[in-house]
């Protein structure tokens, strides 16, 4: 975390480390969708962005989602645009994936699999954490 006084003085060129902490399953609540919407907007600013999917959040980027029959729009494939939008650091927590019987092959986009201690380390480095 940068010293607040420094931030104040250089507000024109601030580049912050911001991480999206995605912990919630899709469709039961709108969280993964609204989190994605924030990512797509924040990506337009020149910030140092990353996203980590853990707990039920890994389900948000699971392949094969088709919510037509529940009357809901599919947005999952939009996660694929993230790297193109400049959000290239995309992490998935290992045990969250394993507990759900999933592998990286089941995911919609390329991710880096990390363990919990690495997630904590990454989170500690952030200036802003967006929980969705």
């Amino acid at each position: 975390m940068a010293n607040p006084e420094e931030i104040e003085e250089s507000s024109d060129e601030i580049v912050k480390k911001m991480m999206f902490v995605m912990r919630k399953a899709p469709h039961g609540t709108i969280n993964p969708y609204e989190g994605l919407e924030v990512m797509l907007i924040v990506a337009a600013y020149d910030q140092d962005l990353s996203a980590v999917f853990l707990d039920d959040g890994v389900y948000a980027i699971k392949k094969g989602q088709d919510p037509k029959e529940i009357g809901v729009k599919d947005f999952s494939t939009t996660f694929r645009v993230l790297p193109g939008y400049g959000i290239e650091k995309i992490y998935v927590e290992k045990e969250s994936l394993e507990n759900r019987g999933l592998t990286v092959e089941d995911l919609l986009l390329e991710v880096e699999v990390v363990d919990k201690s690495e997630v904590t380390k990454l989170m500690q480095e952030q200036d802003v954490l967006f929980p969705f």
Partner: protein
């Protein structure tokens, strides 16, 4: 009586709680995020299989499809909304929300 459970079993104790109140003739219907419990190969599979030995467990097909759950644990019966209505026709509904 028909229990409905709409939460993921990984972060929410709703299904665990429900299973403690279930008896032979009270089927359980997994809906919304509850259907993740019916997914094959998860850390919850063992618990669900034990429950399947004792109770009838249903999962809502449209919710499975929405979440891309292609492999469902053997013995879980998949129903559509019409099947949900059939269950609610036969049983009074106890939503374990």
């Amino acid at each position: 009586m028909l229990f409905t459970v709409n939460k993921s079993p990984f972060l929410f104790g709703h299904l665990d709680s429900c299973l403690q109140y279930a008896i032979k003739d009270t089927p359980i219907l997994l809906i919304e995020d509850g259907v993740y419990a019916a997914s094959k190969g998860t850390s919850y599979e063992k618990k669900l299989k034990e429950a399947l030995g004792k109770f009838e467990i249903y999962a809502l097909g449209p919710d499975l499809k929405a979440r891309g759950i292609a492999s469902v644990i053997d013995g879980v019966k998949i129903v559509d909304y019409a099947g949900f209505v059939d269950l609610a026709e036969k049983h009074n509904v106890a939503p374990w929300i």
